[in-house]
Amino acid sequence: MSTRRRRRPRIGCLSLIAIVGAALLLALAVLLRPRSLPQPTALAVGAPAAAPRTALRSPASFMAIADPRARSIALFREAGRVIQHPRCLNCHPRTDRPTQTDAMRPHMPWVSRGAGEAVLPCATCHHDRNVEAAGVPGNPGWQLAPSEMAWQGQSLGDICRQLIDPARSHMTRAELLDHMATDDLVGWAWHPGGERTPAPGTQAQFGALIDAWLSTGAQCPA
């Protein structure tokens, strides 16, 4: 009896080892089975993502807003689509250093207003027009806005209040309109060259919005 009892477990142990071994072999065989590499597949064609609105609304399209104050704010909000565009914000930085590209990353190389201007002026690389061969933008008036006119990091309302504050904008309202509607450097934002995204609309449409905003009392968003 005792001999039989001793033999039984030995048989059980051997078969257990055999089962585990077989399972391991099977698992290995499954894992190492020849498989084909992932093949390229066509992307599912869905509805294209909504393109950003590139046109500007005309002042006339705001006439339905009866309250002049609300209309003035709505006009400025539409103009704000230009003001807060990277083509404009890049040269209205909050520091002495401009930014660049639609991502508004710090300008490379390191250039800086003030002391930096004397030793590494914009004209080292930027000329009076866009130079497509080198991808470098340019304009005869290429320069940063004054530091009091920093727009980056400001709300649209704060930018608005800054624009109508002569101590910071250094402009009367007539000069402000002229700057926005006809200044050639401002106009560069619609003809930036290369693959840069132009500001929405045209400078003339933008000027018309600023004109309408000023003549409705230059009201600012909160």
């Binding site: 490379m108 190389p109 390191w110 250039v111 800086s112 002391a115 930096g116 004397a118 030793v119 590494l120 002026p121 004209a123 080292t124 690389c125 930027h126 000329h127 009076d128 130079v131 061969a133 080198a134 991808g135 470098v136």
Partner: protein
């Protein structure tokens, strides 16, 4: 249309398209290969020359724009600042591979002509557009200080 250029004090007539970057006219048409092509997009400073005394990246400058300007390249730059920079560069063994160095020298000379005794901050601001893939920046900065001291000491 031929373009008359003033390069290193000599008038040179070239027949390149007015939109050709000055860098290519200097290197390929005039054979002045001391000015280097690094990036072609105003990011490295290897192509720096002086136009009417100002340091300019020649890869971004259409040759038609500089018809009436005085262009100076590394081959023709001269004067006390240049001698001081040459001596300091040699004493400090500034170059590693040397590729960027003509641009570095042109920027350093222009800096010393603007600020004869520059601070570290002045040097960093002026030289930030001149990249060196061998990272000789510390030696460049030290050599500019040496050149400034040499320039300010009466001979």
């Amino acid at each position: 249309m031929p373009i008359d250029l003033s390069v290193n004090g000599r008038t040179r007539r070239v027949d390149d398209d007015a939109e050709t970057p000055l860098l290519w006219v200097l290197r390929d048409t005039l054979g002045l290969r001391g000015t280097r092509y690094g990036c072609g997009i105003a990011q490295c400073g290897a192509c720096t020359v002086h136009v009417d005394g100002q340091p300019v990246r020649s890869c971004t400058l259409p040759v038609g724009v500089v018809e009436s300007a005085a262009i100076t390249t590394i081959e023709g730059v001269a004067g006390p600042e240049v001698e001081a920079v040459r001596a300091a560069w040699t004493a400090r063994d500034v170059p590693q591979c040397g590729f960027c160095q003509s641009g570095q020298v042109m920027s350093a000379v222009a800096l010393l002509r603007t600020i004869p005794i520059p601070s570290d901050a002045d040097i960093d601001l002026a030289m930030s557009g001149n990249l060196c893939r061998c990272a000789t920046y510390n030696r460049i900065r030290a050599a500019i200080h040496d050149a400034a001291r040499a320039g300010s000491t009466p001979a």
